[in-house]
Every structure is written in structure tokens, then in C-alpha cells.
């Protein structure tokens, strides 16, 4: 290809308070415009002349003269380049057809050697998996004549598209090798099952008739592998498990999912006779009815493996992906809120001693943190969806894989303008199959199967993608307008498995489907048919469009700037078929594809405490009884230590970079309180009136997780997670009797094998967790409405010293709660008025094991027990008190315990407190720092004191003290602890600056 003109442009922002250190640059080539025309257009597109200087070959440049090195970062071929796409659109607006690539220049000052510069660039400025880094000295940079030698990245794929036949009539070892080489993640049993299917006479006859080979095609094998991946099929949760508990009792569990997840919801539905579950376990998200006009859809997903490899792209595609789950729920829900929860290794890892133990090729924990955070920021903000709730949890065992949970809440009207129930969809035979949104590339091939394997240092870079929020926003706007116009009969998103999953799933609604792969829009030519079928290229949704609506559907897409392509039709053949250039290349029986997979058989055992795997050394903890005395000074020291601990410290500076108010419906925001609004909120509350709900209707969203408890008591871990999530929504005014839950399990591989010798124990932890989850959900009457599991969260590869290393995450259950609320009766966490009485609600319990305190100080205290019935009674009374506006503030007691909760209420209110610990029989350290479930700190105006105590009769509210004007916490405990004073300012200082990278 010979371009008429190729130019390079570099842009310096001269308005910045400091001299620019990062300069974007663009490479532009056009076949029909000359240099002058390109330059004219570029001047309009790339720079605002008031604040930016545009450099190109015509402008003398020496902006880098004081830099020691210049790092040039550009995308590798095929990686999504959003800035370039926008620039191409801009050139088109000006009548110029151009190809654009973007990049960044980093001016490095104070760097001594090239090695240092290269290491810095690879660590801080780029991800070598998806980006190319070139480091130059100033002299080299001048000499390379960069304005003349211009090469845009091009994807060049070798070979013409063709379909291969894959014989399964080969020895077992070869079958296993085939599974590994093609990244199929299929077990030998599954390979045998496929082979046997193709051996059957029926299938052979039917394939002969269709002109297909008797052996499967590569397209078919790939469809099967994606559909049967752990990611899509949840085989472990569906398995038959022989379980032996800690007490030696054995039982057989026929599917954890059916028994404990779905089982809990069905039991609750039956017992309580609730009628507000509209759609559970059948669609992309759970749908509940808390309002007379609208329904709420809710879903949370994880994007762990992609985030480990490219934290920014992984998190960005994670949030955009779960948004599409909501857009594709029922006939389409409008996303109105996002949530995000991260589990990371502590940002101070690696310690100097543990440096060599870190996984090779993964970035430093703090870089993963930064990248994931930025991905969520861009994903939410650029989509116009507020991020209203979340959490960050730090533990060193997330060093091998970070957990990135992304959740979304959506709104559906009960009925669409044409009268259809919006939660129900039905593709019909004859409907056209439209794919809309982005085009297909090699990026994101094998995401579903890749995430069903452990991470190693050879993980494929094609599994890494960058999202395109603009394309998705256009797609979302289009989808909602098409929905209200009644243009389609069904919709789902293209997530894991790409078209193979979306069309394959929707084919079940109609009874069959046939697509023409060659019609799919592509990012570049040369993709193989199987790649088109399973690519997970982002921002795509699949629609079933009645043929009489096809023209209008297409025109509306065009108006919104959305690419929509007719790729086939649904039918009632019983098969999912695909052609490439007219030639049949796949024909899969739907029953075989979806319902024939044999149930996995697993064994599990629980033996009680399961200590951490010692992949890196632990620091020795101080013992409070030895190192310092039992006095007020120690309590002060402990409180300040806890406030500054990353698990407790304020996340404000990170969270404020998320837009949490767009859509103008966020009633309780992540931070609350007087003046600078910096006290933490227990849950986010979305007002539903702006979304079509009742005048004062609202939904409270909160979350809970307690992964450290997994090590000693996974049953209790599940209950703590649920209790914390429920308590968070109740604290702010959510109704415990109108509360639904999501379960997101992230587990280390729980299937015993040579590589995972303790798989049965990890599965035992999973069984215990499911039992605990079932018991508390049924006790609270809170149904699970949707969930997801991610089961291979291990790093198995080399450490930085080249030794084999395995790092398994803590078994983690995230519970998200959503409860009905009323904006006239909500409560915030900050103390409000001087003189208000401060109470502890909920029964204090002894126990410090697994607490945050126990991470910093040695203790032998055990686990605090859980009393579910008592908690529920308290939550109901609390909600009644909330509805009667009796309390001035309410805050849940969680990480760090009571003293931290008090400090947070003080910080939010800018007020002090005078506290005298009542005699409870519980050790002072346990009372102040224990994390027993089911507790709140509330403040009550003096005039409401009697009515407050009436509300909590029989629930023994414990008077702790009063809110004071003086900005100190004055704490009196029995001897030997005595009385101590802590300044609000020092608590605030520790809390606000604890989490810095």
C-alpha cells in the first residue's frame, strides 16, 4: 500500500503548571490526501492552540533537550487504540480518509542508564504485552528522523481462511496434547465424550447428508470448548461431590449450585411466599421488583486473569462487560449504577526480603492497583454510569492473581411501550441474527478457556484487550431506543466465547440458528473461521430481529453511529450451524452442545484449619501484652495503626476519581458528612424516581467479604460476608425483608490433580462456604438472585528468581446486597450533633482471630461466633427505627471493630466523643477491636432517647457515651487501661493517608 502522505504529530501541553513529561503523538497516513491537507486537518484535530503546541516535520522541536532519555510507547499491532479511532472519525468529518495510530512520549529526567530508563518505562508507563517501548537518548531521538521514517502498526495474518478437520481418533496422550495446544481446557473425559458423539451413526449420517466430514471441524471443536469451559458451564458448581466433613461424616452432594445456591432461593421463595423475584438464575442478571413501576436487574462479574496481565485493559473490559450483561438482561436494562471490589496484594509488597518470590512477568502490586483503578475509572465515567459502592481488600495471597469484581445495577420498566414484559425475551425461528457494536479481531481469543486455566508466565497476550467505552456507549444508547421501539425479540451480550456463546445460547430460544461467518465485520482481514466464531472482541451484542423490523433496526443503528450486521437467521432445525463464504463449517446438535456434558465427579474433604501456603516469609508481629503495657497509650497506638492499615484507611482519593453522581440519582454517595464530606458510607443509595420509579423509592447497595476467615472456618466466612453485606444496606436504611443477594465465588483450583495435591481440601472449603451461605440466606430470608464463580485463581509458574512457585488466592466469596429503601428514611454514618447519645447495637462478642487487629498484633483470642436469628431481629428493629427517623447516625462495625467505627463517625461529623466502656465481661481488646458480626454504632438525639430504647427493647442497646464538640476521642476503660485522649486530627491524618502508593 502506498500512502500519498504520512505524517507524525507530537503535542505538548504548555498550559500545565509543570513542564510536560508526557506528550501524545499520532502517526497519520492517507492515500487520498496530500501532506498539506493532512496538516491542515491535523491542526484542527490534535491541538487546542490556546494550550497546546503541535509539532510535526515542519516545526522545529527541542522539547526533549533537557531529558536524559525519551521513552516512546506505542501499541502493538491489533491492540485497541481508542485515541486513534477517534482521530480517524475526526479526519472523516473533515473529508479526509486516514489511518491513525497513537502513542506517548515520556521525557525521563534524572535517569542515569539506559537499563534504568527501560526498566522504569516497562514498570510505570507501558505494558510490554500490548505495547512497544523504545528508549532513546536525546541525540538518538534527533538522529532517528522520526518525522520521515513513519510506520503504522499493521496486523498481517498469514494464510487464507480455511476450515480444518480435527480427528479425535487418536491416543489419549494426543487428545490431551490437542486440548493444551489449542487452549481448549477440555479434560480427557470430555474429549472422549465428544469423540463418542461423533462416532454415533445418527451423527455420521446427518453429517454425510450436510456434506460435512465425519470428524469434527476446528470451528465445531472450538464452539464446544468455549461452551463447555468452566467459565461458561460452571462444571465444578454442577459436579457430584463426595464430601467428608471435619466430623468425619460423609455425604454426596449433587451440585453445589442446585443444592445450596438455587436451593436457598427456592426455599426462601416458598417459605416467605415472596413475589418480588421476577427473573433469577435464567438470564444474564437477576431481576427483582421493589417498585410499582420499574424492576431492578443486578449482576457482578470478575475479570481476574485479564487484570493480572493488563490491569488497565482487564478492569476496563470487566466493567464494560458487566454493563453489557445488564444491557442484555431481559429485553435490555438501563445501567444506573456500578460497584467495584478489588482484592490486591498489599501495595508495600514486595518487601525487600521477598522480592525474588514475586511472580515473574506480573506487575508490582501497586502498579496492578493503579491500572485496575484507572480501568474502572474510565469504564464507569466514560459510560456515564455512577460507581456507587465498592471495597478494597488487601492480602499477600492475591499476589499471583488480583481479584477484580465489577457489578452493575440496571433498570427495566415492568412493560415496554408495546406491552411486552421487559424481563422476558424470546428469539423466534425466522428472526434475523444481528451483531452490533465493535468489529472482530484476534484480540480476546480464548478468554473463556484461558480463564479456566491457572495463570502461568506463558499466558497468551491475545487474552488481553482494551475496552472502547465510546463504542459501547453508542451501542447502549442505540439498544435502549431500539428496545422502546420494539425492534427486536431477544438480545444478549457477546462475552466469554464470543458468537459461539451468544448465538449458541439464543439458538435454544428459537430452536436453531445458522450464521455466515464471512459477513462478520472485522478489524483486519485474514481471521480464520474458528477465530471469528470464538473471538471475544469487545463491545458487541447479538440481537434477534424479526425480518420486518430489520431495515428500521439497521437504520437506527446507523443513526447512532453503531455498526450492525445481519449475520444469519434463527431457525427450528435443532442445530447451531455456521458457514464461511457459503460453505458449511459447523453443525452442532443443540442438545449435545448444551445438555449432554457429563456431570463431573469430585471428592472433597474439610479438616478444619488450613494454614496459608508459605510462598513468602511472614513478619513477626508485636505482642501487646509484652511489647507495651495494657494502657491507654497502647489503645491509641493500636487505633492509629489500624486506621492507617490499607484495609481500613480511607479510599477517598481513589474513589473520588470515579464519577459517583452522573445520572443525578445518587442519594447516598461513597463519602458523606459535613464540610468536606469525607466520612465513609456503608452503602450507596440510588434514588429511583429519576429512573421512572416511585417518588421516594430507592435501592441501597452494599457488599461484604471476609476471605481471611476461609483459612480457619469457611462456613463462618460465608456468613460473615452475607452479614456484612446485609448490615451495610440496613445501616443506611435498607429493608432487611426486601433484600436480595449476589454471590461471587473466586477460588483457587479445587480439583485434585498432580499439580493441585490439596484440591480436595480447597473443594472442602468451597462446600463449607456453600453450606454457610445456604444457612444464613435462609435464616435472613434473603434470596440469592444471581452469581458467578471463577475457579482457577492460582499463579503456577516461575518466580523472579526462576524457581517454580504456586500462589493460590484466599478462597473468597463476595456478597453484594441490594435492598429497598426510601429516601425520606435513610441514615448516614457521621455523627451529627453535639450531645447526641452514642450506642452500640448488637451483642459484643469475644474473638479477635482473623481480625485486622490480628494482622498487626499477636493475639490468641478465637473466632467470634455468629447468632443469625438475633442479628435479623436487630436489623428489623433498626429498620423500624430508621423508618421513624429516630436516630441521627448509624454506622456498621466491621474491619477494625468498634473503635475504628467510632473514629469514622467522628471524622465524617467533624465532632468528638466521650466514651466510657461499660462492663460486659468481654476483654477490652476484643470489645474494642473485635469484628463480631451484627453490630452498629448509632447516635441518638437526646429527645429521641426514650423512643429509641423502646424500639430496641430486648435487644440491649449499650450506651457508650456522647458526641462532643471538642475534637477528641476521650476513652475510659476499666483498669489497667484507664483514660486516654486521641485527637480527631491525628486519627484523620492516619486514616486519610494510610493508603498511599
Amino acid at each position: 500500500m502506498s500512502a500519498a502522505a504520512k505524517l507524525r504529530f507530537e503535542i505538548e501541553d504548555f498550559s500545565a503548571p509543570q513542564k510536560a513529561e508526557i506528550l501524545p503523538f499520532y502517526l497519520v497516513e492517507s492515500e487520498d490526501a496530500d501532506e498539506e491537507a493532512l496538516r491542515r486537518a491535523a491542526a484542527e484535530i490534535f491541538a487546542d492552540p490556546l494550550i497546546e503546541q503541535l509539532y510535526d516535520s515542519a516545526v522545529d522541536t527541542d522539547f526533549y533537550s533537557d531529558a536524559d532519555y525519551i521513552a516512546e510507547v506505542s501499541f502493538r499491532p491489533g491492540v485497541t487504540d481508542n485515541a486513534a479511532h477517534s482521530a480517524e472519525e475526526a479526519f472523516a468529518l473533515l473529508g479526509v480518509t486516514a489511518r491513525v495510530a497513537s502513542g506517548r512520549l515520556y521525557l525521563l529526567r534524572g535517569i542515569k542508564t539506559r537499563e534504568e530508563a527501560e526498566a522504569l518505562a516497562a514498570d510505570r508507563f507501558a505494558n510490554p504485552l500490548i505495547e512497544k517501548i523504545d528508549v532513546f537518548t536525546g541525540e538518538e531521538f534527533t538522529e532517528r528522523r522520526r518525522f520521515e521514517n513513519i510506520a503504522l502498526p499493521h496486523v498481517v495474518l498469514q494464510g487464507a481462511p480455511h476450515v480444518e478437520t480435527v480427528s479425535l481418533e487418536i491416543p489419549d496422550a494426543a487428545l490431551e496434547a490437542l486440548s493444551k495446544e489449542r487452549c481448549l481446557a477440555l479434560t480427557l473425559d470430555e474429549m472422549h465424550h465428544i469423540r463418542d458423539h461423533y462416532r454415533s451413526k445418527n451423527i455420521k449420517d446427518s453429517r454425510t447428508k450436510s456434506g460435512l466430514p465425519h470428524d469434527p471441524t476446528d470451528v465445531e471443536i472450538e464452539i464446544i470448548a468455549q461452551s463447555w469451559s468452566e467459565h461458561c458451564k460452571h462444571k465444578i458448581f454442577a459436579a457430584k461431590i463426595d464430601y467428608c466433613g471435619e466430623d468425619g461424616k460423609t455425604e454426596t452432594i449433587d451440585s453445589l449450585y442446585k443444592t445450596y445456591i438455587k436451593g436457598a432461593t427456592r426455599a426462601i421463595e416458598k417459605r416467605r411466599g415472596i413475589d418480588w423475584l421476577i427473573s433469577v438464575f435464567s438470564d444474564n442478571a437477576g431481576v427483582v421488583r421493589f417498585d410499582g413501576k420499574i424492576d431492578l436487574a443486578i449482576k457482578a462479574e470478575t475479570h481476574n486473569s485479564p487484570s493480572a496481565l493488563d490491569p488497565y485493559g482487564g478492569a476496563l473490559t470487566g466493567i464494560l462487560g458487566v454493563n453489557r450483561d445488564i444491557l442484555g438482561c431481559g429485553l435490555g436494562a438501563r445501567p444506573v449504577a456500578n460497584t467495584d471490589v478489588f482484592c490486591f496484594a498489599p501495595p508495600d509488597l514486595p518487601s525487600a526480603a521477598g522480592e525474588e518470590n514475586m511472580p515473574a512477568r506480573l506487575k508490582e502490586p501497586k502498579r496492578i492497583f493503579e491500572g485496575v483503578h484507572k480501568g474502572v475509572e474510565d469504564g464507569g465515567n466514560k459510560s456515564g454510569i455512577p460507581t456507587v459502592n465498592g471495597a478494597m481488600f488487601f492480602d499477600r495471597d492475591y499476589a499471583g492473581k488480583p481479584l477484580v469484581f465489577c457489578g452493575t445495577i440496571g433498570v427495566l420498566p415492568h412493560h415496554l411501550p408495546d406491552g411486552r414484559a421487559s424481563a422476558e425475551k424470546q428469539a423466534r425461528a425466522g428472526d434475523r441474527i444481528f451483531m452490533a457494536g465493535g468489529a472482530i479481531g484476534a484480540d480476546g481469543i480464548h478468554g473463556a478457556t484461558f480463564s479456566s486455566l491457572a495463570l502461568d508466565e506463558n499466558a497468551p497476550a491475545t487474552a488481553v484487550q482494551i475496552g472502547d467505552p465510546l463504542t459501547q456507549k453508542r451501542l447502549a444508547d442505540f439498544l435502549l431506543e431500539a428496545r422502546d421501539k420494539g425492534l427486536y425479540s431477544s438480545v444478549t451480550d457477546n462475552g466469554a466465547g464470543g458468537l459461539s456463546s451468544s448465538v449458541g445460547e439464543m439458538a435454544r430460544e428459537a430452536g436453531g440458528a445458522e450464521i455466515e461467518l464471512a459477513h462478520c465485520p472485522v478489524k483486519y482481514p485474514g481471521l480464520q473461521p474458528w477465530e471469528l466464531m470464538v473471538s471475544e472482541s469487545q463491545e458487541r451484542m447479538t440481537f434477534a430481529v424479526p425480518s420486518e423490523n430489520a431495515a428500521e433496526f439497521f437504520a437506527l443503528a446507523k443513526l447512532h453511529g453503531v455498526t450492525a450486521t445481519d449475520i444469519g437467521a434463527y431457525n427450528d432445525s435443532g442445530f447451531f450451524s455456521a458457514r464461511h463464504d457459503g460453505k458449511l463449517c459447523a453443525e452442532l446438535d443443540l442438545d449435545f452442545l448444551h445438555d449432554s456434558l457429563p456431570q463431573m465427579q469430585l471428592s472433597a474433604v474439610h479438616r478444619g484449619d488450613k494454614p496459608r501456603a508459605p510462598w513468602t516469609a511472614d513478619a513477626e508481629l508485636p505482642d501487646p501484652r509484652v511489647e507495651t503495657g495494657a494502657d491507654a497509650a497502647f489503645l491509641r497506638n493500636a487505633l492509629l495503626t489500624l486506621l492507617a492499615a490499607p484495609n481500613i484507611a480511607s479510599k477517598e482519593k481513589w474513589v473520588r476519581r470515579y464519577d459517583h453522581e452522573v445520572q443525578a440519582a445518587t442519594h447516598i454517595k461513597p463519602f458523606t458528612g459535613k464540610d468536606d464530606n469525607s466520612g465513609p458510607s456503608d452503602s450507596g443509595i440510588i434514588w429511583l424516581a429519576p429512573h421512572g420509579g416511585g417518588e421516594s423509592a430507592a435501592a441501597a447497595i452494599g457488599c461484604g467479604l471476609a476471605p481471611r476467615l476461609s483459612l480457619s472456618d469457611p462456613y463462618l466466612m460465608a456468613q460473615y460476608a452475607v452479614d456484612e453485606a446485609v448490615r451495610n444496606v440496613v445501616a443506611a436504611g435498607g429493608d432487611p425483608d426486601m433484600c436480595c443477594l449476589l454471590d461471587n465465588f473466586c477460588w483457587p483450583d479445587p480439583v485434585k490433580s498432580a499439580a493441585v495435591p490439596d484440591g480436595d481440601e480447597k473443594l472442602g472449603q468451597l462446600v463449607e462456604t456453600c453450606k454457610g451461605l445456604y444457612d444464613i440466606c435462609t435464616a435472613y430470608g434473603a434470596p440469592l438472585v444471581s452469581g458467578k464463580d471463577s475457579m482457577k485463581n492460582d499463579y503456577r509458574g516461575r518466580d523472579r528468581a526462576g524457581r517454580d512457585i504456586t500462589i493460590s488466592i484466599l478462597p473468597t466469596l463476595l456478597v453484594t446486597a441490594m435492598a429497598r429503601a426510601d429516601i425520606r428514611h435513610t441514615l448516614r454514618s457521621d455523627f451529627r450533633d453535639v450531645g447526641d447519645f452514642i450506642y452500640l447495637l448488637g451483642v459484643p462478642q469475644a474473638g479477635l482471630k482473623s481480625s485486622e487487629f490480628a494482622q498487626h498484633f499477636k493475639t490468641e483470642s478465637g473466632l467470634p461466633p455468629m447468632d443469625m436469628q438475633q442479628n435479623l431481629a436487630l436489623y428489623r428493629a433498626y429498620h423500624m427505627a430508621c423508618s421513624n427517623n429516630v436516630m441521627a447516625s448509624g454506622h456498621d462495625v466491621s474491619e477494625g471493630g468498634l473503635l475504628v467505627a467510632l473514629a469514622e463517625s467522628m471524622i465524617g461529623g467533624g465532632l468528638g466523643a466521650e466514651i466510657a466502656l461499660p462492663e460486659t465481661g468481654i476483654p477490652v481488646l476484643d470489645f474494642l477491636f473485635g469484628e463480631a458480626a451484627g453490630r452498629f454504632v448509632v447516635s441518638v438525639p437526646p429527645q429521641h432517647r426514650a423512643v429509641f430504647e423502646d424500639h430496641f427493647q430486648g435487644l440491649t442497646p449499650l450506651l457508650l457515651g456522647r458526641v462532643t464538640k471538642e475534637k477528641t476521642l476521650r476513652l475510659t476503660a476499666a483498669a489497667p487501661w484507664g483514660t486516654g485522649e486521641m485527637k480527631l486530627a491525628e486519627m484523620e491524618e492516619s486514616w486519610k493517608n494510610g493508603l498511599s502508593l
Binding site: 501541553d13 504548555f14 498550559s15 500545565a16 484542527e44 484535530i45 490534535f46 491541538a47 487546542d48 492552540p49 490556546l50 494550550i51 497546546e52 481508542n82 485515541a83 479511532h85 477517534s86 482521530a87 472519525e89 475526526a90 468529518l93 473533515l94 475509572e377 465515567n381 466514560k382 459510560s383 456515564g384 472502547d468 467505552p469 465510546l470 456507549k473 453508542r474 444508547d477 443513526l559 447512532h560 453511529g561 473520588r656 476519581r657 470515579y658 464519577d659 459517583h660 453522581e661 452522573v662 445520572q663 443525578a664 440519582a665 442519594h667 454517595k669 458523606t672 458528612g673 459535613k674 464530606n677 434514588w687 424516581a689 429519576p690 417518588e695 421516594s696 425520606r824 448516614r828 451529627r832
Partner: protein
């Protein structure tokens, strides 16, 4: 003097609220006009491109917040380019016809890039650059209302009130070398209707909003549409269903169009809140 009643329904002034290409505050912006007693229609920019004459049938125009074109190449840059090339003439006619225009956040950035603010159809005098701290931020900012501003949208607002700001590129920069000269010109002409009470992003002289010499075209970084009700206030409110200070801008401009007077009692109740 007898008060005139603000006309409702069919005769209410009707605003075109622009949408598409990554704009994302169109629904709450349209809702704010409705709550204030006006009418609003959300129109996709490509629909307007197909029928530019449509604009003239509206009484006012709003460019809402969002991330047009993903904020790539500078916020508002590409939407400004698209409007200038495809709709420049109708926008020019609209402003010349003395019809009110508001650009909020990304919409403000677009108005500036379009050259409609602060001096329409003259050389650019201002730009919106990256915040001095380099980050997007969502927080509530106290705003000082400049008492002698000519802006029709902000006339009679409380002396100080708060609105949420949600931007990464909200720092007002005036043309280099002529900052103070331009600043004084803007100030003396009453074209700076709102300032941040504290410096939050390095904006020149804490400028939060700019209007054109007619006072009808307003660009502002804070989000008035996000505070139409007390329900979305930063802190707890006695009555969450009572109106928020943000709605006052929309009421103001509707009154200006219909010629209605500002009710006197309202100012005091606002201060009480």
C-alpha cells in the same frame, strides 16, 4: 406589580438537549428543564445533522455533560469539531437570535472549543485544560455567585451555594500573555457569573463559569442538573423531595424567556436551606 403566571404545557419554552457520541447527562438535563416548568426534547446529534433546521424550532439549547468521543484528543475537542463543521451555521443563527444556550461540563468545553465562549465568533480567548492536580475528581464545590454578572441563568442565585463538580479538564486558561487583560475585560463586562469559593483545579482566578456578552450563553463546569432535588445533596437534607439549588438556574432562564418575574419569597427560603 402583578405577577405573571409561568405558562405550562404546550406553551412552555422548549429546549433541545443534545445527545449521542458519548454525551451522558442528557436525561437529567432534560429532566431539570421539566422540573423547572419548561419542556425539553433529547435529540441525537446525528438526527440534528440530518435536519439542521430543527434547531430553530426550539427556544433554547443545552449541551449536557459527558465524555463526547471518549474525551480522546482533549475533552469536547471532537464534538466541537463535528458541530463546527456540520452545524456551525445553525448554531451561529441560534445564538444571533438571542436564544439561551447552556453548556455543562463537557458541554462547556464544547462551547469554548466552538468559539462561542467567552466572545462569540471572535478569536479564542479561553480554554479548558487538565486540572492542575492531573486527575478527574468528583466532589461538591462551594460556588460564589458574582453579584453584578449579566448572566441570565444565574441572576438572583444565592450568594454562595454548592454543586457537584465531576471533571478532569476544568481548569480555565486564558490566552497566554494576555491573561489579565482578558480577565479584566470579562470581569468588568459581568461575564464571570460563578467562581469556586476555594481553588479546586487551578482555574484562573477560580473561574467556574463564563457567559457571552449577551448573558444568554452560559458555560459552567459544575453540574446544576445534578442538584435539582435535595435528594441528591452531598449531605442529609430535611426534606429530600424539596428542590435543590441547581434547579434555580433552569427556573431563571425559563422566567427570562417568558418574561415572568422572580418570586420574591423564594430567595429567602433558599438561604434557609
Amino acid at each position: 406589580m402583578e405577577k405573571r403566571i409561568i405558562p405550562l404545557k404546550n406553551t412552555a419554552p422548549k429546549f433541545l438537549v443534545l445527545a449521542g457520541d458519548g454525551i451522558n447527562c442528557e436525561r437529567e438535563t432534560a429532566a431539570a428543564f421539566l422540573h423547572a416548568g419548561g419542556a425539553a426534547e433529547i435529540v441525537h446529534i446525528n438526527r440534528l445533522l440530518g435536519n439542521p433546521a430543527l434547531l430553530a424550532s426550539f427556544d433554547g439549547l443545552a449541551l449536557p455533560g459527558g465524555f463526547s468521543f471518549g474525551d480522546e484528543l482533549g475533552s469536547g475537542q471532537l464534538l466541537g469539531l463535528k458541530i463546527r463543521h456540520a452545524l456551525g451555521d445553525v448554531f451561529r443563527d441560534f445564538v444571533a437570535a438571542k436564544k439561551p444556550v447552556i453548556g455543562i461540563c463537557n458541554g462547556f468545553q464544547v462551547l469554548v472549543r466552538l468559539g462561542l465562549l467567552p466572545f462569540p465568533f471572535e478569536d479564542r480567548a479561553a480554554a479548558l485544560a487538565k486540572n492542575d492536580h492531573g486527575q478527574f475528581m468528583n466532589k461538591w464545590a462551594a460556588l460564589d455567585t458574582v453579584p453584578d454578572s449579566i448572566c441570565k441563568w444565574t441572576a438572583g442565585l444565592p450568594a454562595q451555594f454548592s454543586l457537584p463538580v465531576r471533571h478532569g479538564e476544568g481548569r480555565i486558561v486564558l490566552k497566554q500573555g494576555a491573561e489579565e487583560e482578558i480577565y479584566l475585560k470579562l470581569r468588568d463586562a459581568g461575564q464571570i457569573p460563578l467562581r469556586y469559593a476555594q481553588d479546586i483545579n487551578g482555574s484562573y482566578r477560580r473561574i467556574a463559569a463564563l457567559c457571552d456578552p449577551s448573558g444568554l450563553v452560559l458555560g459552567m463546569m459544575p453540574h446544576p442538573e445534578a442538584f435539582a432535588f435535595q435528594a441528591t445533596a452531598a449531605d442529609r437534607a430535611e426534606n429530600p423531595l424539596a428542590k435543590g439549588d441547581g434547579i434555580l438556574l433552569f427556573e431563571n432562564i425559563l422566567r427570562h424567556i417568558t418574561g415572568a418575574e422572580q418570586p420574591q419569597t423564594e430567595k429567602e427560603t433558599r438561604h434557609a436551606g
